[in-house]
Symmetry: C2
Subunit: 582 residues, 2 copies
């Protein structure tokens, strides 16, 4: 009895004071030596107990999506003047970088998800609807939604929600490039359910292959796993699968031995093309040592129920029997976003375009971030006359070096490509830039720049405009950025903190979004991970695997998921992966 | 790097020497003070690496089913002369007593399952086929099976397997009593997948009920959870659900507050009728305090999509709107068993009958155990003349007390009802039994019993024949018993250890199966558990909850599941249950 009450109090204490949990868990985990560093800004609190402040009416923010971007927005928003209505078909956040580990049971599905109702700060009034938005109507400031589950005939299945501000963070969908048979026959790896389904299919394949009265050929077909796409996700899945098979399954399924085959099809000339060459080479070599058959320059043309056809660069088409395909080739636009783009005159674009403040172009009070949007970075050359005349304070028609230098800060904030260009050319300052433009007399301080010279100095700069990759890192940073903007919306209305407006008057309210790349991992199986860190620092091997463990543990959205993920890893160390078809 | 290699070795050591794991985990767990006692006979080993002994041909045992009975058989079989072919649609064992906890996420699905390929001793050659047996053919000693998954057109979906011995342990299925609408509209709770589905449906109901544009009435309907059946499973599920709702969900779903209702329908006059009255009363009172609406004497007559009709004993029919029903009223016979019963002349029986050695009546070399079978205990009165003449060693036509006493041991082993009868009447021995039969002169030692007197002395004894309950305890004991018999099949052929054959010559090869009841738990929610232990000892409250934790942790099939289950409990203490719809 005493035992119990101690535990009861203990457990209650943790629920009431999550920080306690944090302390306990930190000591537990660091005892295991697993975590190198960890974040301190996890936030807690059950939401929904709407405490509407009397007096001023709250602004209603509708947030579509509970992925990386939406969740990061929610975690960071810290201003009680908003009322946030979250709408998403998924009542949880999913830590996608660990999905490949879920496919093989290295990590449990539940460990990588966090209920959305646990996310967000106590002082912000949030509520959640489990529904999918199928239409955005900017004219009437409404979104139209559909409940995930059919409701009864009384309850309406569809409903609309008004907004003052709309934040679109619906992510992207898998892209089949309309290749016939892909939709019907392939597995995708976007959602937690996909990962669970893949795991079940892998186990089922081994069970199927152990049945009697199968020809050898048929057994080999069933145990042929094909991964299409040599990006980080496809590569990581192939590596995980290889480990699962060699470390756990082959000893349990003796009949399968010798019949398992993993093939990776990649249309380009290399896998992991977004990584440093050293990593690509290492990965290709490791896969070849592991017996993973990497077919480069292979473009899939068709998928039938039991075979997949691919064309080599030479034009030769071959077809291979397979048991299971995981399709991981890139992302496409969701229908609701396509429809919205048509409405706002972006019908010809490939992705929903926002400005540098994440505001959807051609709309009011609508923001988009994460995989569903791209930032349409304004080109310097489009604004070059405006920039010139803003910088030319004395309206002399020419720019002195001093004038140019004074304007430079604002220019660099507004057009980050300028800074990138300077960096990429290893220039130290404007003087170098002007030298490049070959003005007559750069060294002197009394230089005077005409508009043509100014244009020519900047003419190459726009080549440095970079599209941001569709990654969790970008989405999370955008979410945090946007939350900060929302927090200081009124404050910055009064005293704007952004750069000078080149085309208009005054200053921009906020500094534009700027992405900070923190490096990237490529887990390659066998406790080997390649890491590409900022400053071109490349690390491959066991040590990066430990870095990977540390970072991924520390990046979990809550202490709950952190503990679960770490204990999943421990379990796997001790017991191996589970092979039951659950 | 050093860290890693330590871990690598550590993890390898555990895989190679599972006993190490055991030691580590025991110390971990007992550090937490959670386990009161634990078993030492868990067994390990990846099987399937068929090492067929040369020389003698192994006997082929086909085992149908990987539930409590089958797994217990497999864990205990310890004789390398057998080759075991396991056939079951489920490649894992599931610890059913924790399924109600899985429905609410108190314990993870994966924690209560163990891959069947990890079960069984190293020296027994086993292999597993993921398939369902759909026909047993005792004439040709074959079973016909169907793969769970459709195979391709090349591979045949159906196949047959020969056996020397067949062990049937296919369990039972849910019983709908052919009440219309039950199959289509209710959830059952038999399998792990059922539990997962129930959990998802509960969360979905709360999400649905939070949607806008719902009438109050509709919201109340959606949040009305009905449990049909007041047996241990139904009661435990209702209790778990109540805890999940009050401890976790209501604070996350503020709109649901006040609309949630749990109703338990039971056709009999009380719930938990198989338990002591004190427990039944306590449970009914606790449920009424908790606000669980227990409707006794309510017989369900029909289930529609949105309402359930029940008839009271008075004949009054009422219909109640519901959101979700869990049906838990009893068990029925599987089609394959029904078909088999017809073939062997048991078509009129309600359950597959075996003799006291678990051999299916009317067959050779076929055994059945667990929920799919019942033991047809031979009545004393059927054999009474044979017993008399066996006991009458001097063939005098009468039985002396000495003769009777000498035969008594065998009689009690062969007909356990005799002992039960003596116990239930608080008799100390045969003398008392004979007194009861009112023979003329019982007190004297020179008593002589005629056959009529003998019959009359035993006439009431058969009233004590007990059908064993369909529980995991019975199934597990039967599995272990049968394995022991198989282990000593040859040995006992030569020197039989069973009682004297009453009808035939010599002795029975083995002692018949005897069930030892170890008590029963009824978890009632709120950390309250009722325990009914042998000797009518009843315990209710927190302390039994701890006993329950201890016993259930110790009863797990492997150290892996033991650690998982205990760590799930710890997680729940610290973080509460997860509410994401995964
Ligand atoms: C397997 C895998 C591994 C990955 N690994 C990494 C990695 O290691 N590092 C990295 O940086 N990135 C990784 N990524 C990429 C990363 O997950 C994405 O870039 C990131 O999720 C984008 O965030 P998002 O919020 O824009 O979209 P998502 O995270 O996809 O979230 C979209 C949200 O919108 C919801 N939604 C969808 N449609 C609607 C609708 N109509 N109405 C309302 N809501 C809707 C969805 O349910 C979801 O909640 C990985 C991706 C995958 C699939
Ligand atoms: C939710 C729940 C809670 C319970 N709680 C308790 C408890 O606390 N204490 C207790 O003592 N008992 C409990 N029981 C009862 C206990 O689970 C059963 O009595 C026990 O499982 C019976 O064991 P079995 O091996 O006969 O059948 P099962 O365990 O049901 O196993 C049957 C096996 O046969 C397989 N099978 C089915 N059809 C075929 C086929 N055609 N061919 C081949 N294989 C087939 C199945 O896949 C399964 O592996 C509970 C049951 C449930 C459902």
């Amino acid at each position: 009895m005493r035992n119990f009450s101690v535990f009861e109090r203990f457990s209650k204490a943790f629920k009431d004071h999550p920080s306690l949990t944090r302390i306990l868990v930190v000591s537990t985990i660091s005892g295991g030596g697993l975590i190198a560093y960890s974040e301190a800004n996890a936030s807690y609190g059950a939401n929904g107990g709407a405490v509407v402040e009397t007096g001023t009416k709250k602004k209603k923010v509708v947030l579509l999506g509970t992925g990386w971007a939406g969740t990061s927005f929610l975690k960071n928003l810290n201003n009680s003047q908003y009322e946030v209505q979250i709408i998403s078909p998924r009542n949880y956040f999913a830590f996608t970088p660990l999905l490949p580990s879920v496919t093989c049971g290295t990590v449990e599905a539940r460990s990588v998800v966090e209920p959305i109702r646990n996310i967000g700060r106590k002082n912000v009034d949030t509520s959640y609807l489990e529904a999918e938005c199928f239409k955005i109507d900017p004219a009437s400031k409404k979104v139209y939604c559909r409940s995930k589950q059919g409701l009864s005939s009384n309850g309406k299945k569809e409903f609309s929600v008004d907004y003052d501000y709309l934040v679109i963070a619906t992510g992207a969908q898998s892209n089949t490039f309309n290749i016939p048979g892909v939709e019907e026959n392939c597995h995708f790896l976007k959602e937690v359910e996909d990962a669970q389904r893949i795991r079940k299919t892998v186990i089922d394949s081994f069970e199927k292959a152990s049945l009697p009265e199968l020809s050898d050929e048929e057994r080999k077909r069933i145990l042929h796993f094909v991964v299409v796409g040599g990006g980080p996700t496809g590569v990581e899945f192939a590596a995980e699968l290889h480990d699962f098979v060699t470390e756990d399954l082959v000893s349990l399924y003796p009949r399968a031995k010798g019949s398992v085959r993993i093939t990776l099809l990649e249309a380009a000339d290399h896998i992991l093309t977004m990584f440093d060459k050293r990593i690509t080479e290492f990965a290709e070599e490791k896969f070849s040592r592991d017996g993973i058959d990497v077919k480069l320059g292979s473009m899939v043309t068709k998928v039938n129920e039991k075979d997949i056809s691919a064309k080599t660069k030479g034009g030769e088409v071959s077809s291979i029997p397979y048991g299971m395909i995981v399709w991981s080739t890139g992302i496409g636009t969701r229908p609701v976003i396509k429809d919205f783009m048509k409405q706002i005159g972006q019908g010809n674009r490939r992705a929903l375009a926002t400005d540098e403040w994440l505001r959807v172009e051609g709309t009011d009070n609508i923001y988009a971030l994460g995989d569903c949007a791209t930032i349409n970075q304004r080109k310097v050359m489009e604004d070059v006359s405006a920039i010139f005349s803003k910088a030319d304070k004395d309206k002399s028609g020419t720019l002195t070096l001093k004038e140019f230098q004074e304007a430079m800060d604002d220019i660099c904030v507004r057009y980050p490509q300028v800074e990138l260009y300077l960096k990429s050319k290893r220039m130290r300052g404007i003087a170098d830039l002007l030298k490049e433009a070959e003005t007559d007399d750069v060294s002197k301080n009394n230089i005077e720049l005409k508009i043509e010279e100014f244009k020519s100095a900047l003419s190459q700069v726009d080549s440095q405009v970079k599209f941001l990759p569709a990654t969790a890192q970008v989405a999370a940073q955008q979410g945090a950025y946007l939350a900060k903007c929302f927090d200081r919306m009124e404050e910055c209305e009064k005293s704007p903190e952004g750069p000078i407006r080149m085309r208009g008057e005054g200053r921009h309210r906020f500094r534009p979004f700027r992405y900070r790349h923190l490096g990237q991992f490529a887990p390659l199986g066998g406790e080997q991970t390649a890491a590409q860190l900022p400053g071109d620092w490349v690390s491959i091997g066991h040590s990066s695997q430990w870095l990977w463990y540390s970072v991924y543990a520390s990046k979990q959205v809550s202490w709950r998921t952190r503990v679960l993920v770490v204990s999943d890893w421990m379990r796997r160390f001790i017991f191996g992966r589970d092979s039951s078809s659950i």
